[in-house]
């Protein structure tokens, strides 16, 4: 059995058939996972200034860039093992650098609340065994964490849910779009306008407090009465919800207070984003956007987005991420004016403009380690096939040595 590093569900029931050290077939992994396990066709090669080099020189050049930088940033991390993340944090300390990860413009805000224990939460196994009301809010699990409904939430039979989805569970979707997940929640889909989540929450709180909500009263009252009946409810909070209420997150806490039988769980895409958040939190008390400046300083200006906005960094090390592809083009002008070092298994848009590229093994496929599932459970990653590529953890160790 192998673990799939395709998303933060980290399915550990995958069978992989390997022939001549090549992946021939995967069993049980979804389409997303199968694609991740089979890997990319464009492997990254070591380079300096867009010219081929050897690994040692690339590492030396990367060390030189970081050493000479006044305010370097280390970014990425959600596709790395916990071990590599810990190394990254050490490296940031040593350099007095800023460290941030993709959660900074994703689910970081939400996960921070979990680590601060602001929400009642539970494990996915508890969901499988007990949950009766499931709310997918701003989350299209079917496309982002495709086996979420089949492995844990809606379809499986659980200890106190022997009749499974047919009679024992209700799945609800709240979204701006009738997603694939919403399609499965047939009859329990609540469509909201973009940025309409806040209004919806407030109306729901009213309905739960016995008031007539100001907005779509009939639908909201109906939803409130379903939620009230829950023995073990779960709200799966997706990125749609996080983005929409990012300026006033406490209203989700307020809502959770009104439905004491509910648990909140963050939906996480990248396989070890939560791992980075937990590692940095343990070290600093913050999940991202930290500068090691003799002491720990946390500030929004240490987010990758604001750092680009303010042009405040002068070198960038990226591990397992592609900001050129995932950030607004209006923001990345700064990225193209500073030296960038890319550590990645694959060629990315960012690596195409990088000053130094350093190839690594595909983690969870060509190198092992641990990662943290979206609900906080630690999962072992497997080394499915051997390769000549070094793990990102090993590369970071060498990079630190070369400083």
């Amino acid at each position: 059995m192998a673990t799939c590093p395709g998303c933060a569900l980290l399915c550990d029931d995958i069978e992989v058939i390997v022939e001549n050290n090549m992946i021939k077939e995967t069993k049980n992994a979804c389409r997303r996972g199968a694609a991740r396990i089979k890997g990319c066709i464009n492997r990254l090669a070591p380079s300096i200034a867009q010219k081929p080099s050897d690994l040692e020189s690339a590492i030396r050049k990367a060390a030189e860039i970081l050493r000479n930088a006044k305010s370097p940033m280390l970014f990425g991390w959600s596709n790395s093992t916990c071990e590599a993340q810990a190394k990254g944090i050490q490296l940031a300390k040593k350099l007095g650098a800023v460290i941030d990860d993709t959660s900074s413009f994703c689910q970081g805000l939400l996960i921070e609340k979990f680590l601060q224990k602001k929400f009642r939460t539970c494990t996915l196994e508890e969901v499988r065994n007990n949950a009766d009301i499931l709310v997918y809010w701003g989350s299209d699990a079917q496309d982002s964490e495709p086996r979420h409904l089949s492995r844990f939430s809606y379809f499986p039979r659980g200890e106190s849910r022997q009749r499974g989805y047919e009679e024992d569970r209700i799945a609800i979707a709240i979204d701006v779009r009738e997603s694939n997940t919403a399609k499965i929640c047939k009859g329990h889909f609540y469509r909201i306008q973009p940025k309409g989540d806040r209004e919806f929450i407030l109306a729901l709180i009213d309905a739960l407090s016995g008031k007539v909500p100001a907005y779509e009263p009939k639908k909201i009252l109906e939803l409130a009465s379903i939620l009230k009946k829950a023995e073990f409810g779960v709200i799966f909070a997706g990125i749609g919800l996080t983005y929409s209420i990012k300026d006033d997150f406490d209203i989700l806490v307020l809502l959770a207070d009104k439905i004491p039988n509910f648990h909140i769980m963050p939906m996480v895409g990248h396989y070890n984003m939560r791992g980075f958040n937990e590692n940095l939190f343990r070290e600093t008390g913050f999940v991202n956007r930290v500068k090691f400046d003799g002491k720990v300083v946390h500030d929004n200006k240490y987010s990758i987005v604001e750092a680009f906005q303010e042009k405040s960094i002068d070198a960038l090390l990226i591990v397992g991420s592609d900001p050129l592809s995932s950030l607004p083009r209006s923001l990345i002008r700064h990225l193209t004016s500073i030296p960038v070092i890319c550590i990645d298994p694959c060629v990315t848009m960012t690596s195409k403009i990088a000053a130094v590229t350093i190839p690594c093994a595909a983690s969870g496929i060509e190198s092992a380690g641990t990662a943290i599932r979206m609900d906080g459970k630690i999962i072992e990653l497997s080394k499915i096939i051997g390769s000549d590529y070094l793990a990102d953890e090993e590369l970071l160790t060498r990079l630190m040595g070369a400083l």
Binding site: K27, R31, G33, R128, R151, F155, P156, G164, K183
Partner: protein
């Protein structure tokens, strides 16, 4: 998803009856239901229908093998989510410690398995829609996010 009309549009439309059906339309229905093969229509085997024949083959290919039960699986639109694996009552009954509780199937008696990220159906004769006590089961159709499973 292939429809009778799509198949019909590709046939010679002469209603010559060589295939044993009374019209090309009837032949389309039989094709979709896997009761006839493309080669039963000998006129379409001729060179000038080559393109149309190839198109027909590609439309019908994904479901080849589903045979008499009429189940058609469209792997090209399947996400491999496994909802059908866990929801099918046959899988639940035959694999209570695997598929039934959301885990990977633990034996070969299940109908649905996910291979290379796409669903593969086997043991189709076990399906509740067939046999002596058949019932109109929708447990693999309703949970599918993309309509990758259908019965004709």
């Amino acid at each position: 998803m292939v429809t009778v009309m799509e198949l019909y549009q590709l046939l010679p439309k002469t209603n010559c009856k060589i295939c044993g059906e009374s019209t090309c339309m009837a032949f389309s229905v039989a094709l979709l239901g896997r009761k006839k093969n493309i080669s039963d229509c000998t006129p379409i085997l001729e060179e000038n229908f080559k393109k149309q024949k190839e198109k027909l083959e590609s439309l019908l290919l994904p479901s080849a093998g589903a045979g008499e039960t009429g189940m058609i699986v469209h792997p090209e639109i399947c996400t491999g989510c496994g909802n059908c694996v866990v929801a099918c009552p046959v899988d639940v009954a035959n694999d209570p410690r695997g598929a039934a509780i959301g885990c990977a199937p633990t034996n070969d008696k299940v109908i649905f398995r996910v291979i290379d990220g796409k669903v593969v159906a086997s043991n189709i004769k076990e399906c509740r829609r067939f046999g002596k006590n058949k019932v109109l089961c929708y447990a693999c159709i309703d949970p599918c996010p993309t309509g990758a499973i259908e019965f004709v």
